[in-house]
Amino acid sequence: MSKSQGRGVRLAVDIGGTFTDVALETGERRITIKVLTTQDAPDRGVLQGITSVLEEAHVAPEAVGLIIHGTTLATNALIERKGARTAFVTTDGFRDVLETGYERRFEQYDIYMDKPPPLVPRRLRFTVPERVAADGCVLRKLDEGALSTLAKQLESEGIESIGIGFLHSYVNAAHEERAREVLLAALPHLSVTISSEVSPEIREYDRFSTACANAYVQPQMAGYLSKLSVACRGMGLTCPLLLMTSAGGLTTIDSAIRFPIRLVESGPAGGAMLASHLARVYGLGDVLSFDMGGTTAKICLISDGVPERSRAFEVARAYRNLKGSGLPVRVPVIEMVEIGAGGGSLASVDAMHRIAVGPESAGSEPGPACYGQGGRRPAVTDANLVLHRLDAERFAGGSIKLDPAAARDAIAADVGRALGLDASWAAVGISEIVEENMANAARVHAIERGKVIERHVMIAFGGGAPLHACRVARKLGVTRILVPAGAGVGSAIGFLRAPISYQVTRSRYGLLADLDLSALNGWLSAMRDEARAIVEPGAPNEPLTETRHVDLRYTGQGHELVIALPTRDLGPDDLGKLHRDFEDRYRALYGLTLPDMGIETLTWSVTVSTEPEAVTAVPTPSYSAEGFEPTGLREVFDPDAGKPVPTPVYWRPDLTPGAEIIGPALIDEDETTTLIADGWRARIDGRGYIDMAQLPGNGGG
């Protein structure tokens, strides 16, 4: 029995800003629906969606074996600053770590820029006498009397949640743990987050920021999740409810309530998990996941079905999506580049007569000019409409009638006039620049990881990606693109493909050459036990896999490489192997090694996970262009010809496996449009996905 059958009927729910997507899967059948997100009480929308999808599928609640849930609630609370009344308790002398941050301006030339205000204002940041040194020794004992006094103050301030962050607690957490005990004894109703649990890594600002963000969203998330799980049970859904994390794994409600910060960005993680699953289904080694929505494009690299991961993330970027303008959060995440390039990204011309696109976005209100909702500035969607890549009548399943004249006027006014270009050429420029931005982001991301971008297969989903995929691929030298079905609810479908997993990390700064192996093996086992304790309740009787990694760098460098460890106690022989593995990886990335230089260890991590779902091969139909007729022609502007060219348009539901289309052509569907460029061929494969390939002799740009 395969595991997916073992889990029976499965339900995935993804709460986004506008829509709550629900996907139900039973064996081979999948039903998806969208309901409006109910901002005031998101659980209401979730329950509505579940009820509707169960009715449509004729499935009884009791038959559901698993519910998987992802939500942007924690992220929204951080962006909108609507979390709990939070206090922060830290080491005497370090009251302002949360506010001084990196002490750096993230935008060098803007003397009016502001740093992100801390989640906890200074008057709610308290210090207590205590001090642990870098090696874990106690330099100053924790003053428990001061904590008791503090407890009274916290109470009178009406504090709901507390973050505790002491220096070097990633080495010795005793003071943080004791401080929590003392405060909870006095104020048992409080939520308390300690930095050594939520992010036991060196670098005080990042760790404290993570602890504080966790504390800030915890009461709200705990309330929401408890309420939701009670309501589900009330509906007869007695199955486990698991939460999607930003690392692309599933976790239990208990763990989600303790570490809600691990749930940020679960939606995009779902998309990456879908692409990872497809990579395994199609047997693809290197995959570039390209998810373009309304405001941003997300790019993720996948190797052998496993997405790149990291532990550095920034939430609530407040300034042109710039790095440094948000709050750092050190939790396991799927590594993605997110750039301000979506259908709603606005175009303008700068002082150098250059077209600039994004990161400013028209959003859904007022939306691009062509929405006719009062938007006056041109967006990427306007450019696609002017170029006739989109059908004004069929956009978003015909739910929004687009206004081509408004799009044309906005583009002519804001871009064309300054450059002396007509609306069509200005639209070509907008499209080129947004594609160039996405291609650059993907290329740099790949190079930074020592990957050859040309070898990747692109998996394109989200409303905007299939429209731009061919042109971005051409810029990257990528020659194959997959466009899955149901691209509009990709995240929810991705949730269904995610394993149950948990990662535990610990910073232990030291030299690889003189590690205390017995102590190290002790920590690693404890970390494994901690991870298992969180995974097992969500995956009873399932076989678990374990992976271990360590971050290594040459002594004195700033960038670490993640090297895999054997999942057993380390012996002296392993150290030589680690050294060699590090050097191999370093050489692969930078073309040289530094033989005399020592190697430092920074952070160790252990991940426990259920096994990835078994995959079945895609049946290959025989392909033919016969029997598939376009529904019409659209005059799509062709920059090479310098004029509109009649282009056949197909309706995706008409296309069955085996269909073959030679570009240039367009395939419309409710949620998106796929553009097949000149020199490309599209086939509808055995799963009904669009599989596009560049025809030989059509390389270059």
Partner: protein, 567 residues
């Protein structure tokens, strides 16, 4: 412009790509270079040049000090190694302060990019090495000869073969040879990355020469810069500023002339060069002067030979902002990073609405060293960075404890303590350090450091200024707090020179605050009360400087405030 629509868009896309190439080059360097200053603070730079040595694009990295310095550095290389002598596989290097980026610590490496055997462009990069021998990071040298090893314009690689002799000489003359070699290799390999991507770009776009793109970039940038400059009212503006200096106070004088779409900044009348290493070579003075100007006049125009050509900087030879070889220059940023403040002093008179008040200015580099542990011959050296407050803006408070104009950032206390036997007992805002004003200056901070193992340690105070000359406010805004350096139980220390911190004693460092903007009595009483509740303005200061009465519980006393302000 006569180009076809397609051709015009083509140029735009290639310009966009070129910026991406140099950003990638800089990232490659950031990941492989050594030392906390590069690692945590991004003290590096990367750029691409045409065959006339004109800078076309530069990555935006940690420090503006590399802006103009890098723009002219490649031109200097071309004088020694003309284009027609360059061969595939050649790599050139220098750390000459006057030919590179202003002090020996910065090595500049230039690599010619070849495509099908033909030279097509040049890539250059620089980063701050951990050590260059000599006195180390100190302002105490009396000439550049004492400051470390100096490498004139030389070949680091000749047709692909490493110059072993040069490398061995460098390795022999520095305290951390492995890191030095690692950094040199990092510079070489990031340039290679740039060359490779650039050649791929030429293939992709099917171009044979960078020249048309170069003209497009330089022309559009120059024009944008000129347009921006034309918005500054024509005229002559003057400002002056006094700094603590080393042996004597430093007097800076600036005359800004705005005429016909160009700006000239002239430091005529400024102090003569110091005998100590706080002198700012002309290239470095240019960089920070232009940075200050661009922040106000044209923040969105990229740095390249075109945009920079619109601004001229002049400084008398032998002055502290144009010291001649062999003046010592290691701590060049003490003076160099103060220059945006004096440029703002001129611009404030020219621009309606005014410009931000003075800031704490140069970053305070904490270069500490001493015995690594008891009864051991082993020594440690570690470098940390602290920053004070930024001046208040005409419409906003100044940034608290944030580097300006330098783009570097803090090194985490946990990182410093992990690599050196020191303990930071304190690093937090210093209340009342932000200059009072309608908009408050940014807060400075107070830092306390002690030996971890009860041994003495040294601090090389090369870069501490504004101990006697605090950041001034504007439009009735008050100055920020002056900086201070002292021992917890002992005497005040001066801002320059090497100090020993005895065992058990704490070094106390108070970073200066930024100046205020506007009359403090015009500050919103609620904002003052909020500052009091947050403990960054004392009740006494609220009363005295702002005329605002705040009760012990932090509530605003409106009646008393009206009385105070009415008087």
């Amino acid at each position: 412009m006569t180009a076809s629509p397609a051709g015009q868009l083509h140029m735009q896309v290639m310009w966009n790509r070129l910026i991406s190439v140099v950003e990638e080059q800089a990232q490659a360097l950031l990941r492989t270079a050594f030392g906390s200053v590069v690692r945590e603070a991004g003290d590096l730079s990367a750029g691409v040049y045409d065959l006339r040595g004109r800078m076309l694009a530069q990555a935006v990295t940690g420090t503006p000090g590399h802006v103009n310095t890098m723009a002219v550095a490649v031109g200097h290389f071309l004088e020694r190694f003309p284009i027609d002598t360059m061969r595939e596989g050649d790599v050139y290097v220098t750390n000459d302060p006057w030919m590179g980026t202003g002090h020996l610590f910065d090595f500049v490496v230039v690599t010619p990019a070849f495509r099908a055997g033909r030279l097509v462009s040049l890539f250059a990069s620089t980063c701050h090495l951990v050590d260059v021998g000599g006195l180390g990071f100190s302002a105490d040298a009396r000439s550049v000869y004492e400051e470390g090893i100096r490498v004139p314009h030389m070949k680091l690689y000749d047709r692909g073969t490493l110059n072993d002799v040069l490398m061995r000489v460098i390795e022999t003359n520095v305290r951390q040879p492995i890191e030095a070699k690692g950094d040199m290799m990092a510079l070489v390999s990031c340039n290679n990355a740039g060359c490779t991507r650039f050649v791929a770009m030429m293939d992709e776009f099917g171009i044979d020469s960078i020249d048309p793109l170069a003209e497009h970039i330089l022309e559009n940038s120059r024009r944008a810069m000129e347009e921006a400059v034309r918005k500054v009212p024509q005229g002559e503006y003057r400002a002056s500023m006094t700094l603590d200096g080393y042996e004597d106070e430093v007097r800076l004088e600036l005359r800004m002339t705005v005429k016909d779409g160009a700006i000239t900044l002239d430091y005529e009348g400024s102090s003569a060069a110091s005998q100590f290493g706080i002198n700012s070579p002309k290239c470095y003075s240019d960089a920070y002067s232009v940075f200050g100007l661009k922040c106000v006049v044209a923040p969105e125009v990229p740095n390249n030979a075109g945009s920079l050509s619109v601004i001229r900087v002049e400084a008398p030879e032998g002055s502290i902002v144009n010291p001649l070889d062999p003046s010592p220059v290691t701590a060049r940023h003490v003076v160099g990073q103060m220059l945006p403040d004096i440029v703002f002093g001129c611009l404030h008179q020219a621009m309606s609405g005014g410009v931000q008040a003075e800031s704490s200015g140069s970053i305070w580099v904490l270069a500490m060293s001493g015995p690594a542990e008891r009864d051991s011959a082993e020594a440690f050296t570690v470098m940390s960075v602290s920053v004070g407050g930024v001046g208040a803006r005409p419409t906003k408070d100044g940034l608290d404890s944030t580097a300006f104009p330098s783009g570097v950032g803090a090194i985490p206390v946990e990182v410093t303590e992990s690599v050196a036997p020191v303990v930071f007992w304190r690093r937090e805002f210093q209340p009342d350090s932000g200059g009072a004003g309608r908009f408050r200056g940014g807060l400075g901070q107070i830092v306390e450091i002690e030996s971890r193992c009860n041994l003495p340690f040294q601090i090389s105070a090369a870069t501490f200024d504004r101990l006697r000359n605090p950041a001034r406010g504007r439009e009735k805004g008050e100055p920020g707090a002056a900086g201070q350096l002292k021992l917890a139980h002992g005497q005040d220390l001066v801002g320059k020179g090497v100090h020993e911190v005895p065992p058990g004693e704490r070094l106390v460092i108070e970073l200066p605050g930024g100046g205020g903007f506007g009359d403090p009595r015009a500050r919103s009483p609620d904002a003052v009360a909020a500052d009091v509740r947050n403990g960054i303005v004392s009740r006494e200061a609220a009363r005295k400087a702002y005329g605002v009465a705040v009760n012990e519980d932090g509530a605003l006393d409106e009646v008393e405030t009206a009385k105070l302000r009415g008087g």
